[in-house]
Symmetry: C2
Subunit: 401 residues, 2 copies
């Protein structure tokens, strides 16, 4: 019998209990022995809840119970969640989490503690919700030198961009619609400014290189400046706009990491990832491209990923499941030195100026007072200098994949 | 030090040696210890080859060498490959294979032998080439009751259908082109008649239910009867045509398994899987839909998957990696009892007859002497009776996803 404690009885926590209980025959078979939720830690009481009798308020009960071998940390935040995770690991209990903020911030430290104590720190649900992507990296792409990871890892922004593209609607209108549907928070900043995607990218690119990519050092740009005009040009060019979290291993061993909106061809597999779906596109030196697609959020998909980690821990009791993510900082490349193509939108009156500054391809749409320009490949720094020089004539710019 | 033997020095075998040797630092780090190819078994000699000195002709050398703990069976076929795999497992050596024919035929038996002898039988490369899909099923979707698997698992037919769709070219012309490019065999039957996809479906659907799905009992239809006319109608309807390997768990616990061309909406994630790429779309009861996409064939992608299995075995020496596939036969549902929608193409002269027989939606294309009909959902058996009754007036039919 494997006994599990769930920390936090919110959306994901109640999902974890639901998956373990309602898929119990499947879960127990996979784990190799019966699995049971012994404790649910929460500040609140749940007298009406089916599992209300398992709710406790004191973490030390869990910590000191030798029967509990696996702890699910699904409370969020980097305060108590960090303390509890650390204490559990130090007590030899494996920890499985969906807490991307904590993983991005303290991942390598918690992994090291797990190794010291013969248990595991697992975080499949921290990126891409229910999509298996962490385990594929850690136990399937193990013969690969991973060259890049590129993902649509935030459902809220992907929903907004999908609606803007399909309905020609404004950012603000779609955001309000998303808030009504519960796809966006009342304070949407973490999503629309790219911070959530940034944390997930820190995790993915750390696993790519095996060193620590600090989320606070990743260049991050949100989607608030994307307009319906941008989508009109994208469509005419056979492209769409996606918020991508992109990490690339450069030849000198440094990592180019960036979260930003990108123009991407309609024929690219990531272009068909719509609404709240997520996908992570990974390129390895032997395998080439592979992609992992699915529900990037939601109670049961996320809970299913947490429980799959619990099952892995149950199968590997007394050992540490390998995960290469050292505390040593990865070297991050300056984005100003990178080279790529850009799309920019410019007032029609400044055409001569723009054409002189940017070699590339012009795209005109009927009845508009601006035009689009797809530049040849150029350096980020040179692009920005020239773009700034256009002053008010420059109406917007988006990088190309 | 992990010492490996590679059985068969053909395309995949030489790829396996190349991946282990040229990605050695990655591979050894992942495995937790240095990995080395000690023997290559082949009937031929390779005096000019960089690894020619490791070639041996006698399997007993490998079998009796206690240093060899993992064997890669990449020779193909179900004769010697079966004997060698069995003997290796009986000697406690784990076996990793890309041989889908052998896995489909003897998978549960070889898995049972591995369990008895504390080693593992691994076959990630047998489905979807380099795409991680077997391990995601066996170690990521472990909290799920898997409800369906649906995949594009044959690169040759997907290449042919993609070209037919994009170029409006005939099956025969594209097949010849594919043969010239090396994407199709000179005898293309195993691919174009769906037999290759059928074996892969047997493996996927066996893992879905944990029982044995016999490939010889799977309804299998190839792509040889798909025409440019079908693609013209598909395009007009916002759809495309794909050869799908589909396994579905029915409510009574039986499995509906079928390989056949299907019409699929352009907005379905599988619709964008083009050329030689493969993808497997899996639906679970908690996670919902997820999809795994990548290179379904090719020397290095396939070899990378074999080596990822070798690494898993190295990490799990002395234990058996869990895989639920019992020898007990799964119950297969009769396809005649299933219900779905169909597309049929009928001579214009038989319109009244067809409309009377099939409630549904008519699609007419200008300048053609036939018309298309998308039926409402109906039983396979009823459909076929009515379709046969149309005699020569019926020009073709394709199921809808």
């Amino acid at each position: 019998m494997v006994k599990v404690a769930v920390l936090g009885y919110g959306t994901v926590g109640s999902g974890v209990v639901e998956v373990i209980e309602s898929n119990n025959s499947q879960v127990s078979r996979s784990a190799g022995e019966e699995m049971h939720v012994k404790y649910i830690l929460d500040l609140r009481d749940f007298p009406e809840d089916l599992y209300g009798d398992r709710v406790v308020h004191d973490f030390s009960l869990i910590l000191e119970d030798p029967e509990v071998s696996i702890v699910c940390e699904v409370m969020g935040g980097v305060g108590a969640a960090y303390q509890y995770s650390k204490q559990a690991l130090e007590a030899g209990k494996s920890v499985c989490t969906s807490n991307k903020e904590l993983v991005a911030k303290h991942g390598p430290e918690l992994l090291a503690i797990a190794r010291e104590h013969g248990c595991s720190y697992m975080f499949e649900a921290s990126v891409g919700g229910g999509i298996p992507v962490i385990r594929p990296i850690n136990s399937s792409l193990t013969a690969e030198k991973i060259l890049s990871v590129m993902g649509i890892v935030n459902g809220t922004t992907n929903y907004i961009l999908t609606r803007m593209g399909s309905e020609g609607a404004d950012f603000q209108d779609v955001l309000e619609q998303a808030q009504k549907l519960g796809y966006a928070e009342r304070n949407p900043e973490a999503d629309v400014e790219g911070h959530d995607a940034c944390r997930k990218l820190a995790i993915l690119s750390s696993l790519m290189v095996g060193k620590n990519v600090d989320s606070e050092k990743i260049y991050t740009e949100g989607i608030t400046r994307i307009t319906t005009a941008d989508f009109a040009y994208a469509k005419a060019a056979g492209m769409t706009i996606k918020l991508l979290a992109s990490g690339r291993l450069l030849e000198d061993g440094s990592v180019l990491a960036m979260v930003a909106p990108f123009l991407i061809s309609d024929t690219h597999p990531l272009a068909m990832v719509n609404d709240v779906f997520n996908a992570i596109f990974i390129t390895g030196n032997m395998l080439g491209d592979s992609m992992y697609y699915g529900r990037g959020a939601g109670k049961l998909p996320t809970a299913s990923a947490v429980v799959s980690d619990v099952i892995e821990c149950a199968r590997n009791q007394g050992r540490t499941i390998p995960c290469f993510w050292e505390p040593e900082d990865a070297e991050l490349a300056e984005i100003s030195g990178t080279e790529q193509s850009y799309f920019l939108r410019v007032k029609a009156s400044a055409r001569a100026e723009a054409e002189a500054a940017f070699p590339g391809r012009i795209l005109e749409l009927p009845g508009r007072e601006d035009f689009g320009l797809f530049t040849d490949s150029m350096r980020e720094k040179a692009f920005h200098e020239k773009y700034e020089a256009l002053g008010d004539n420059a109406l917007g710019r988006i990088r190309l994949v």
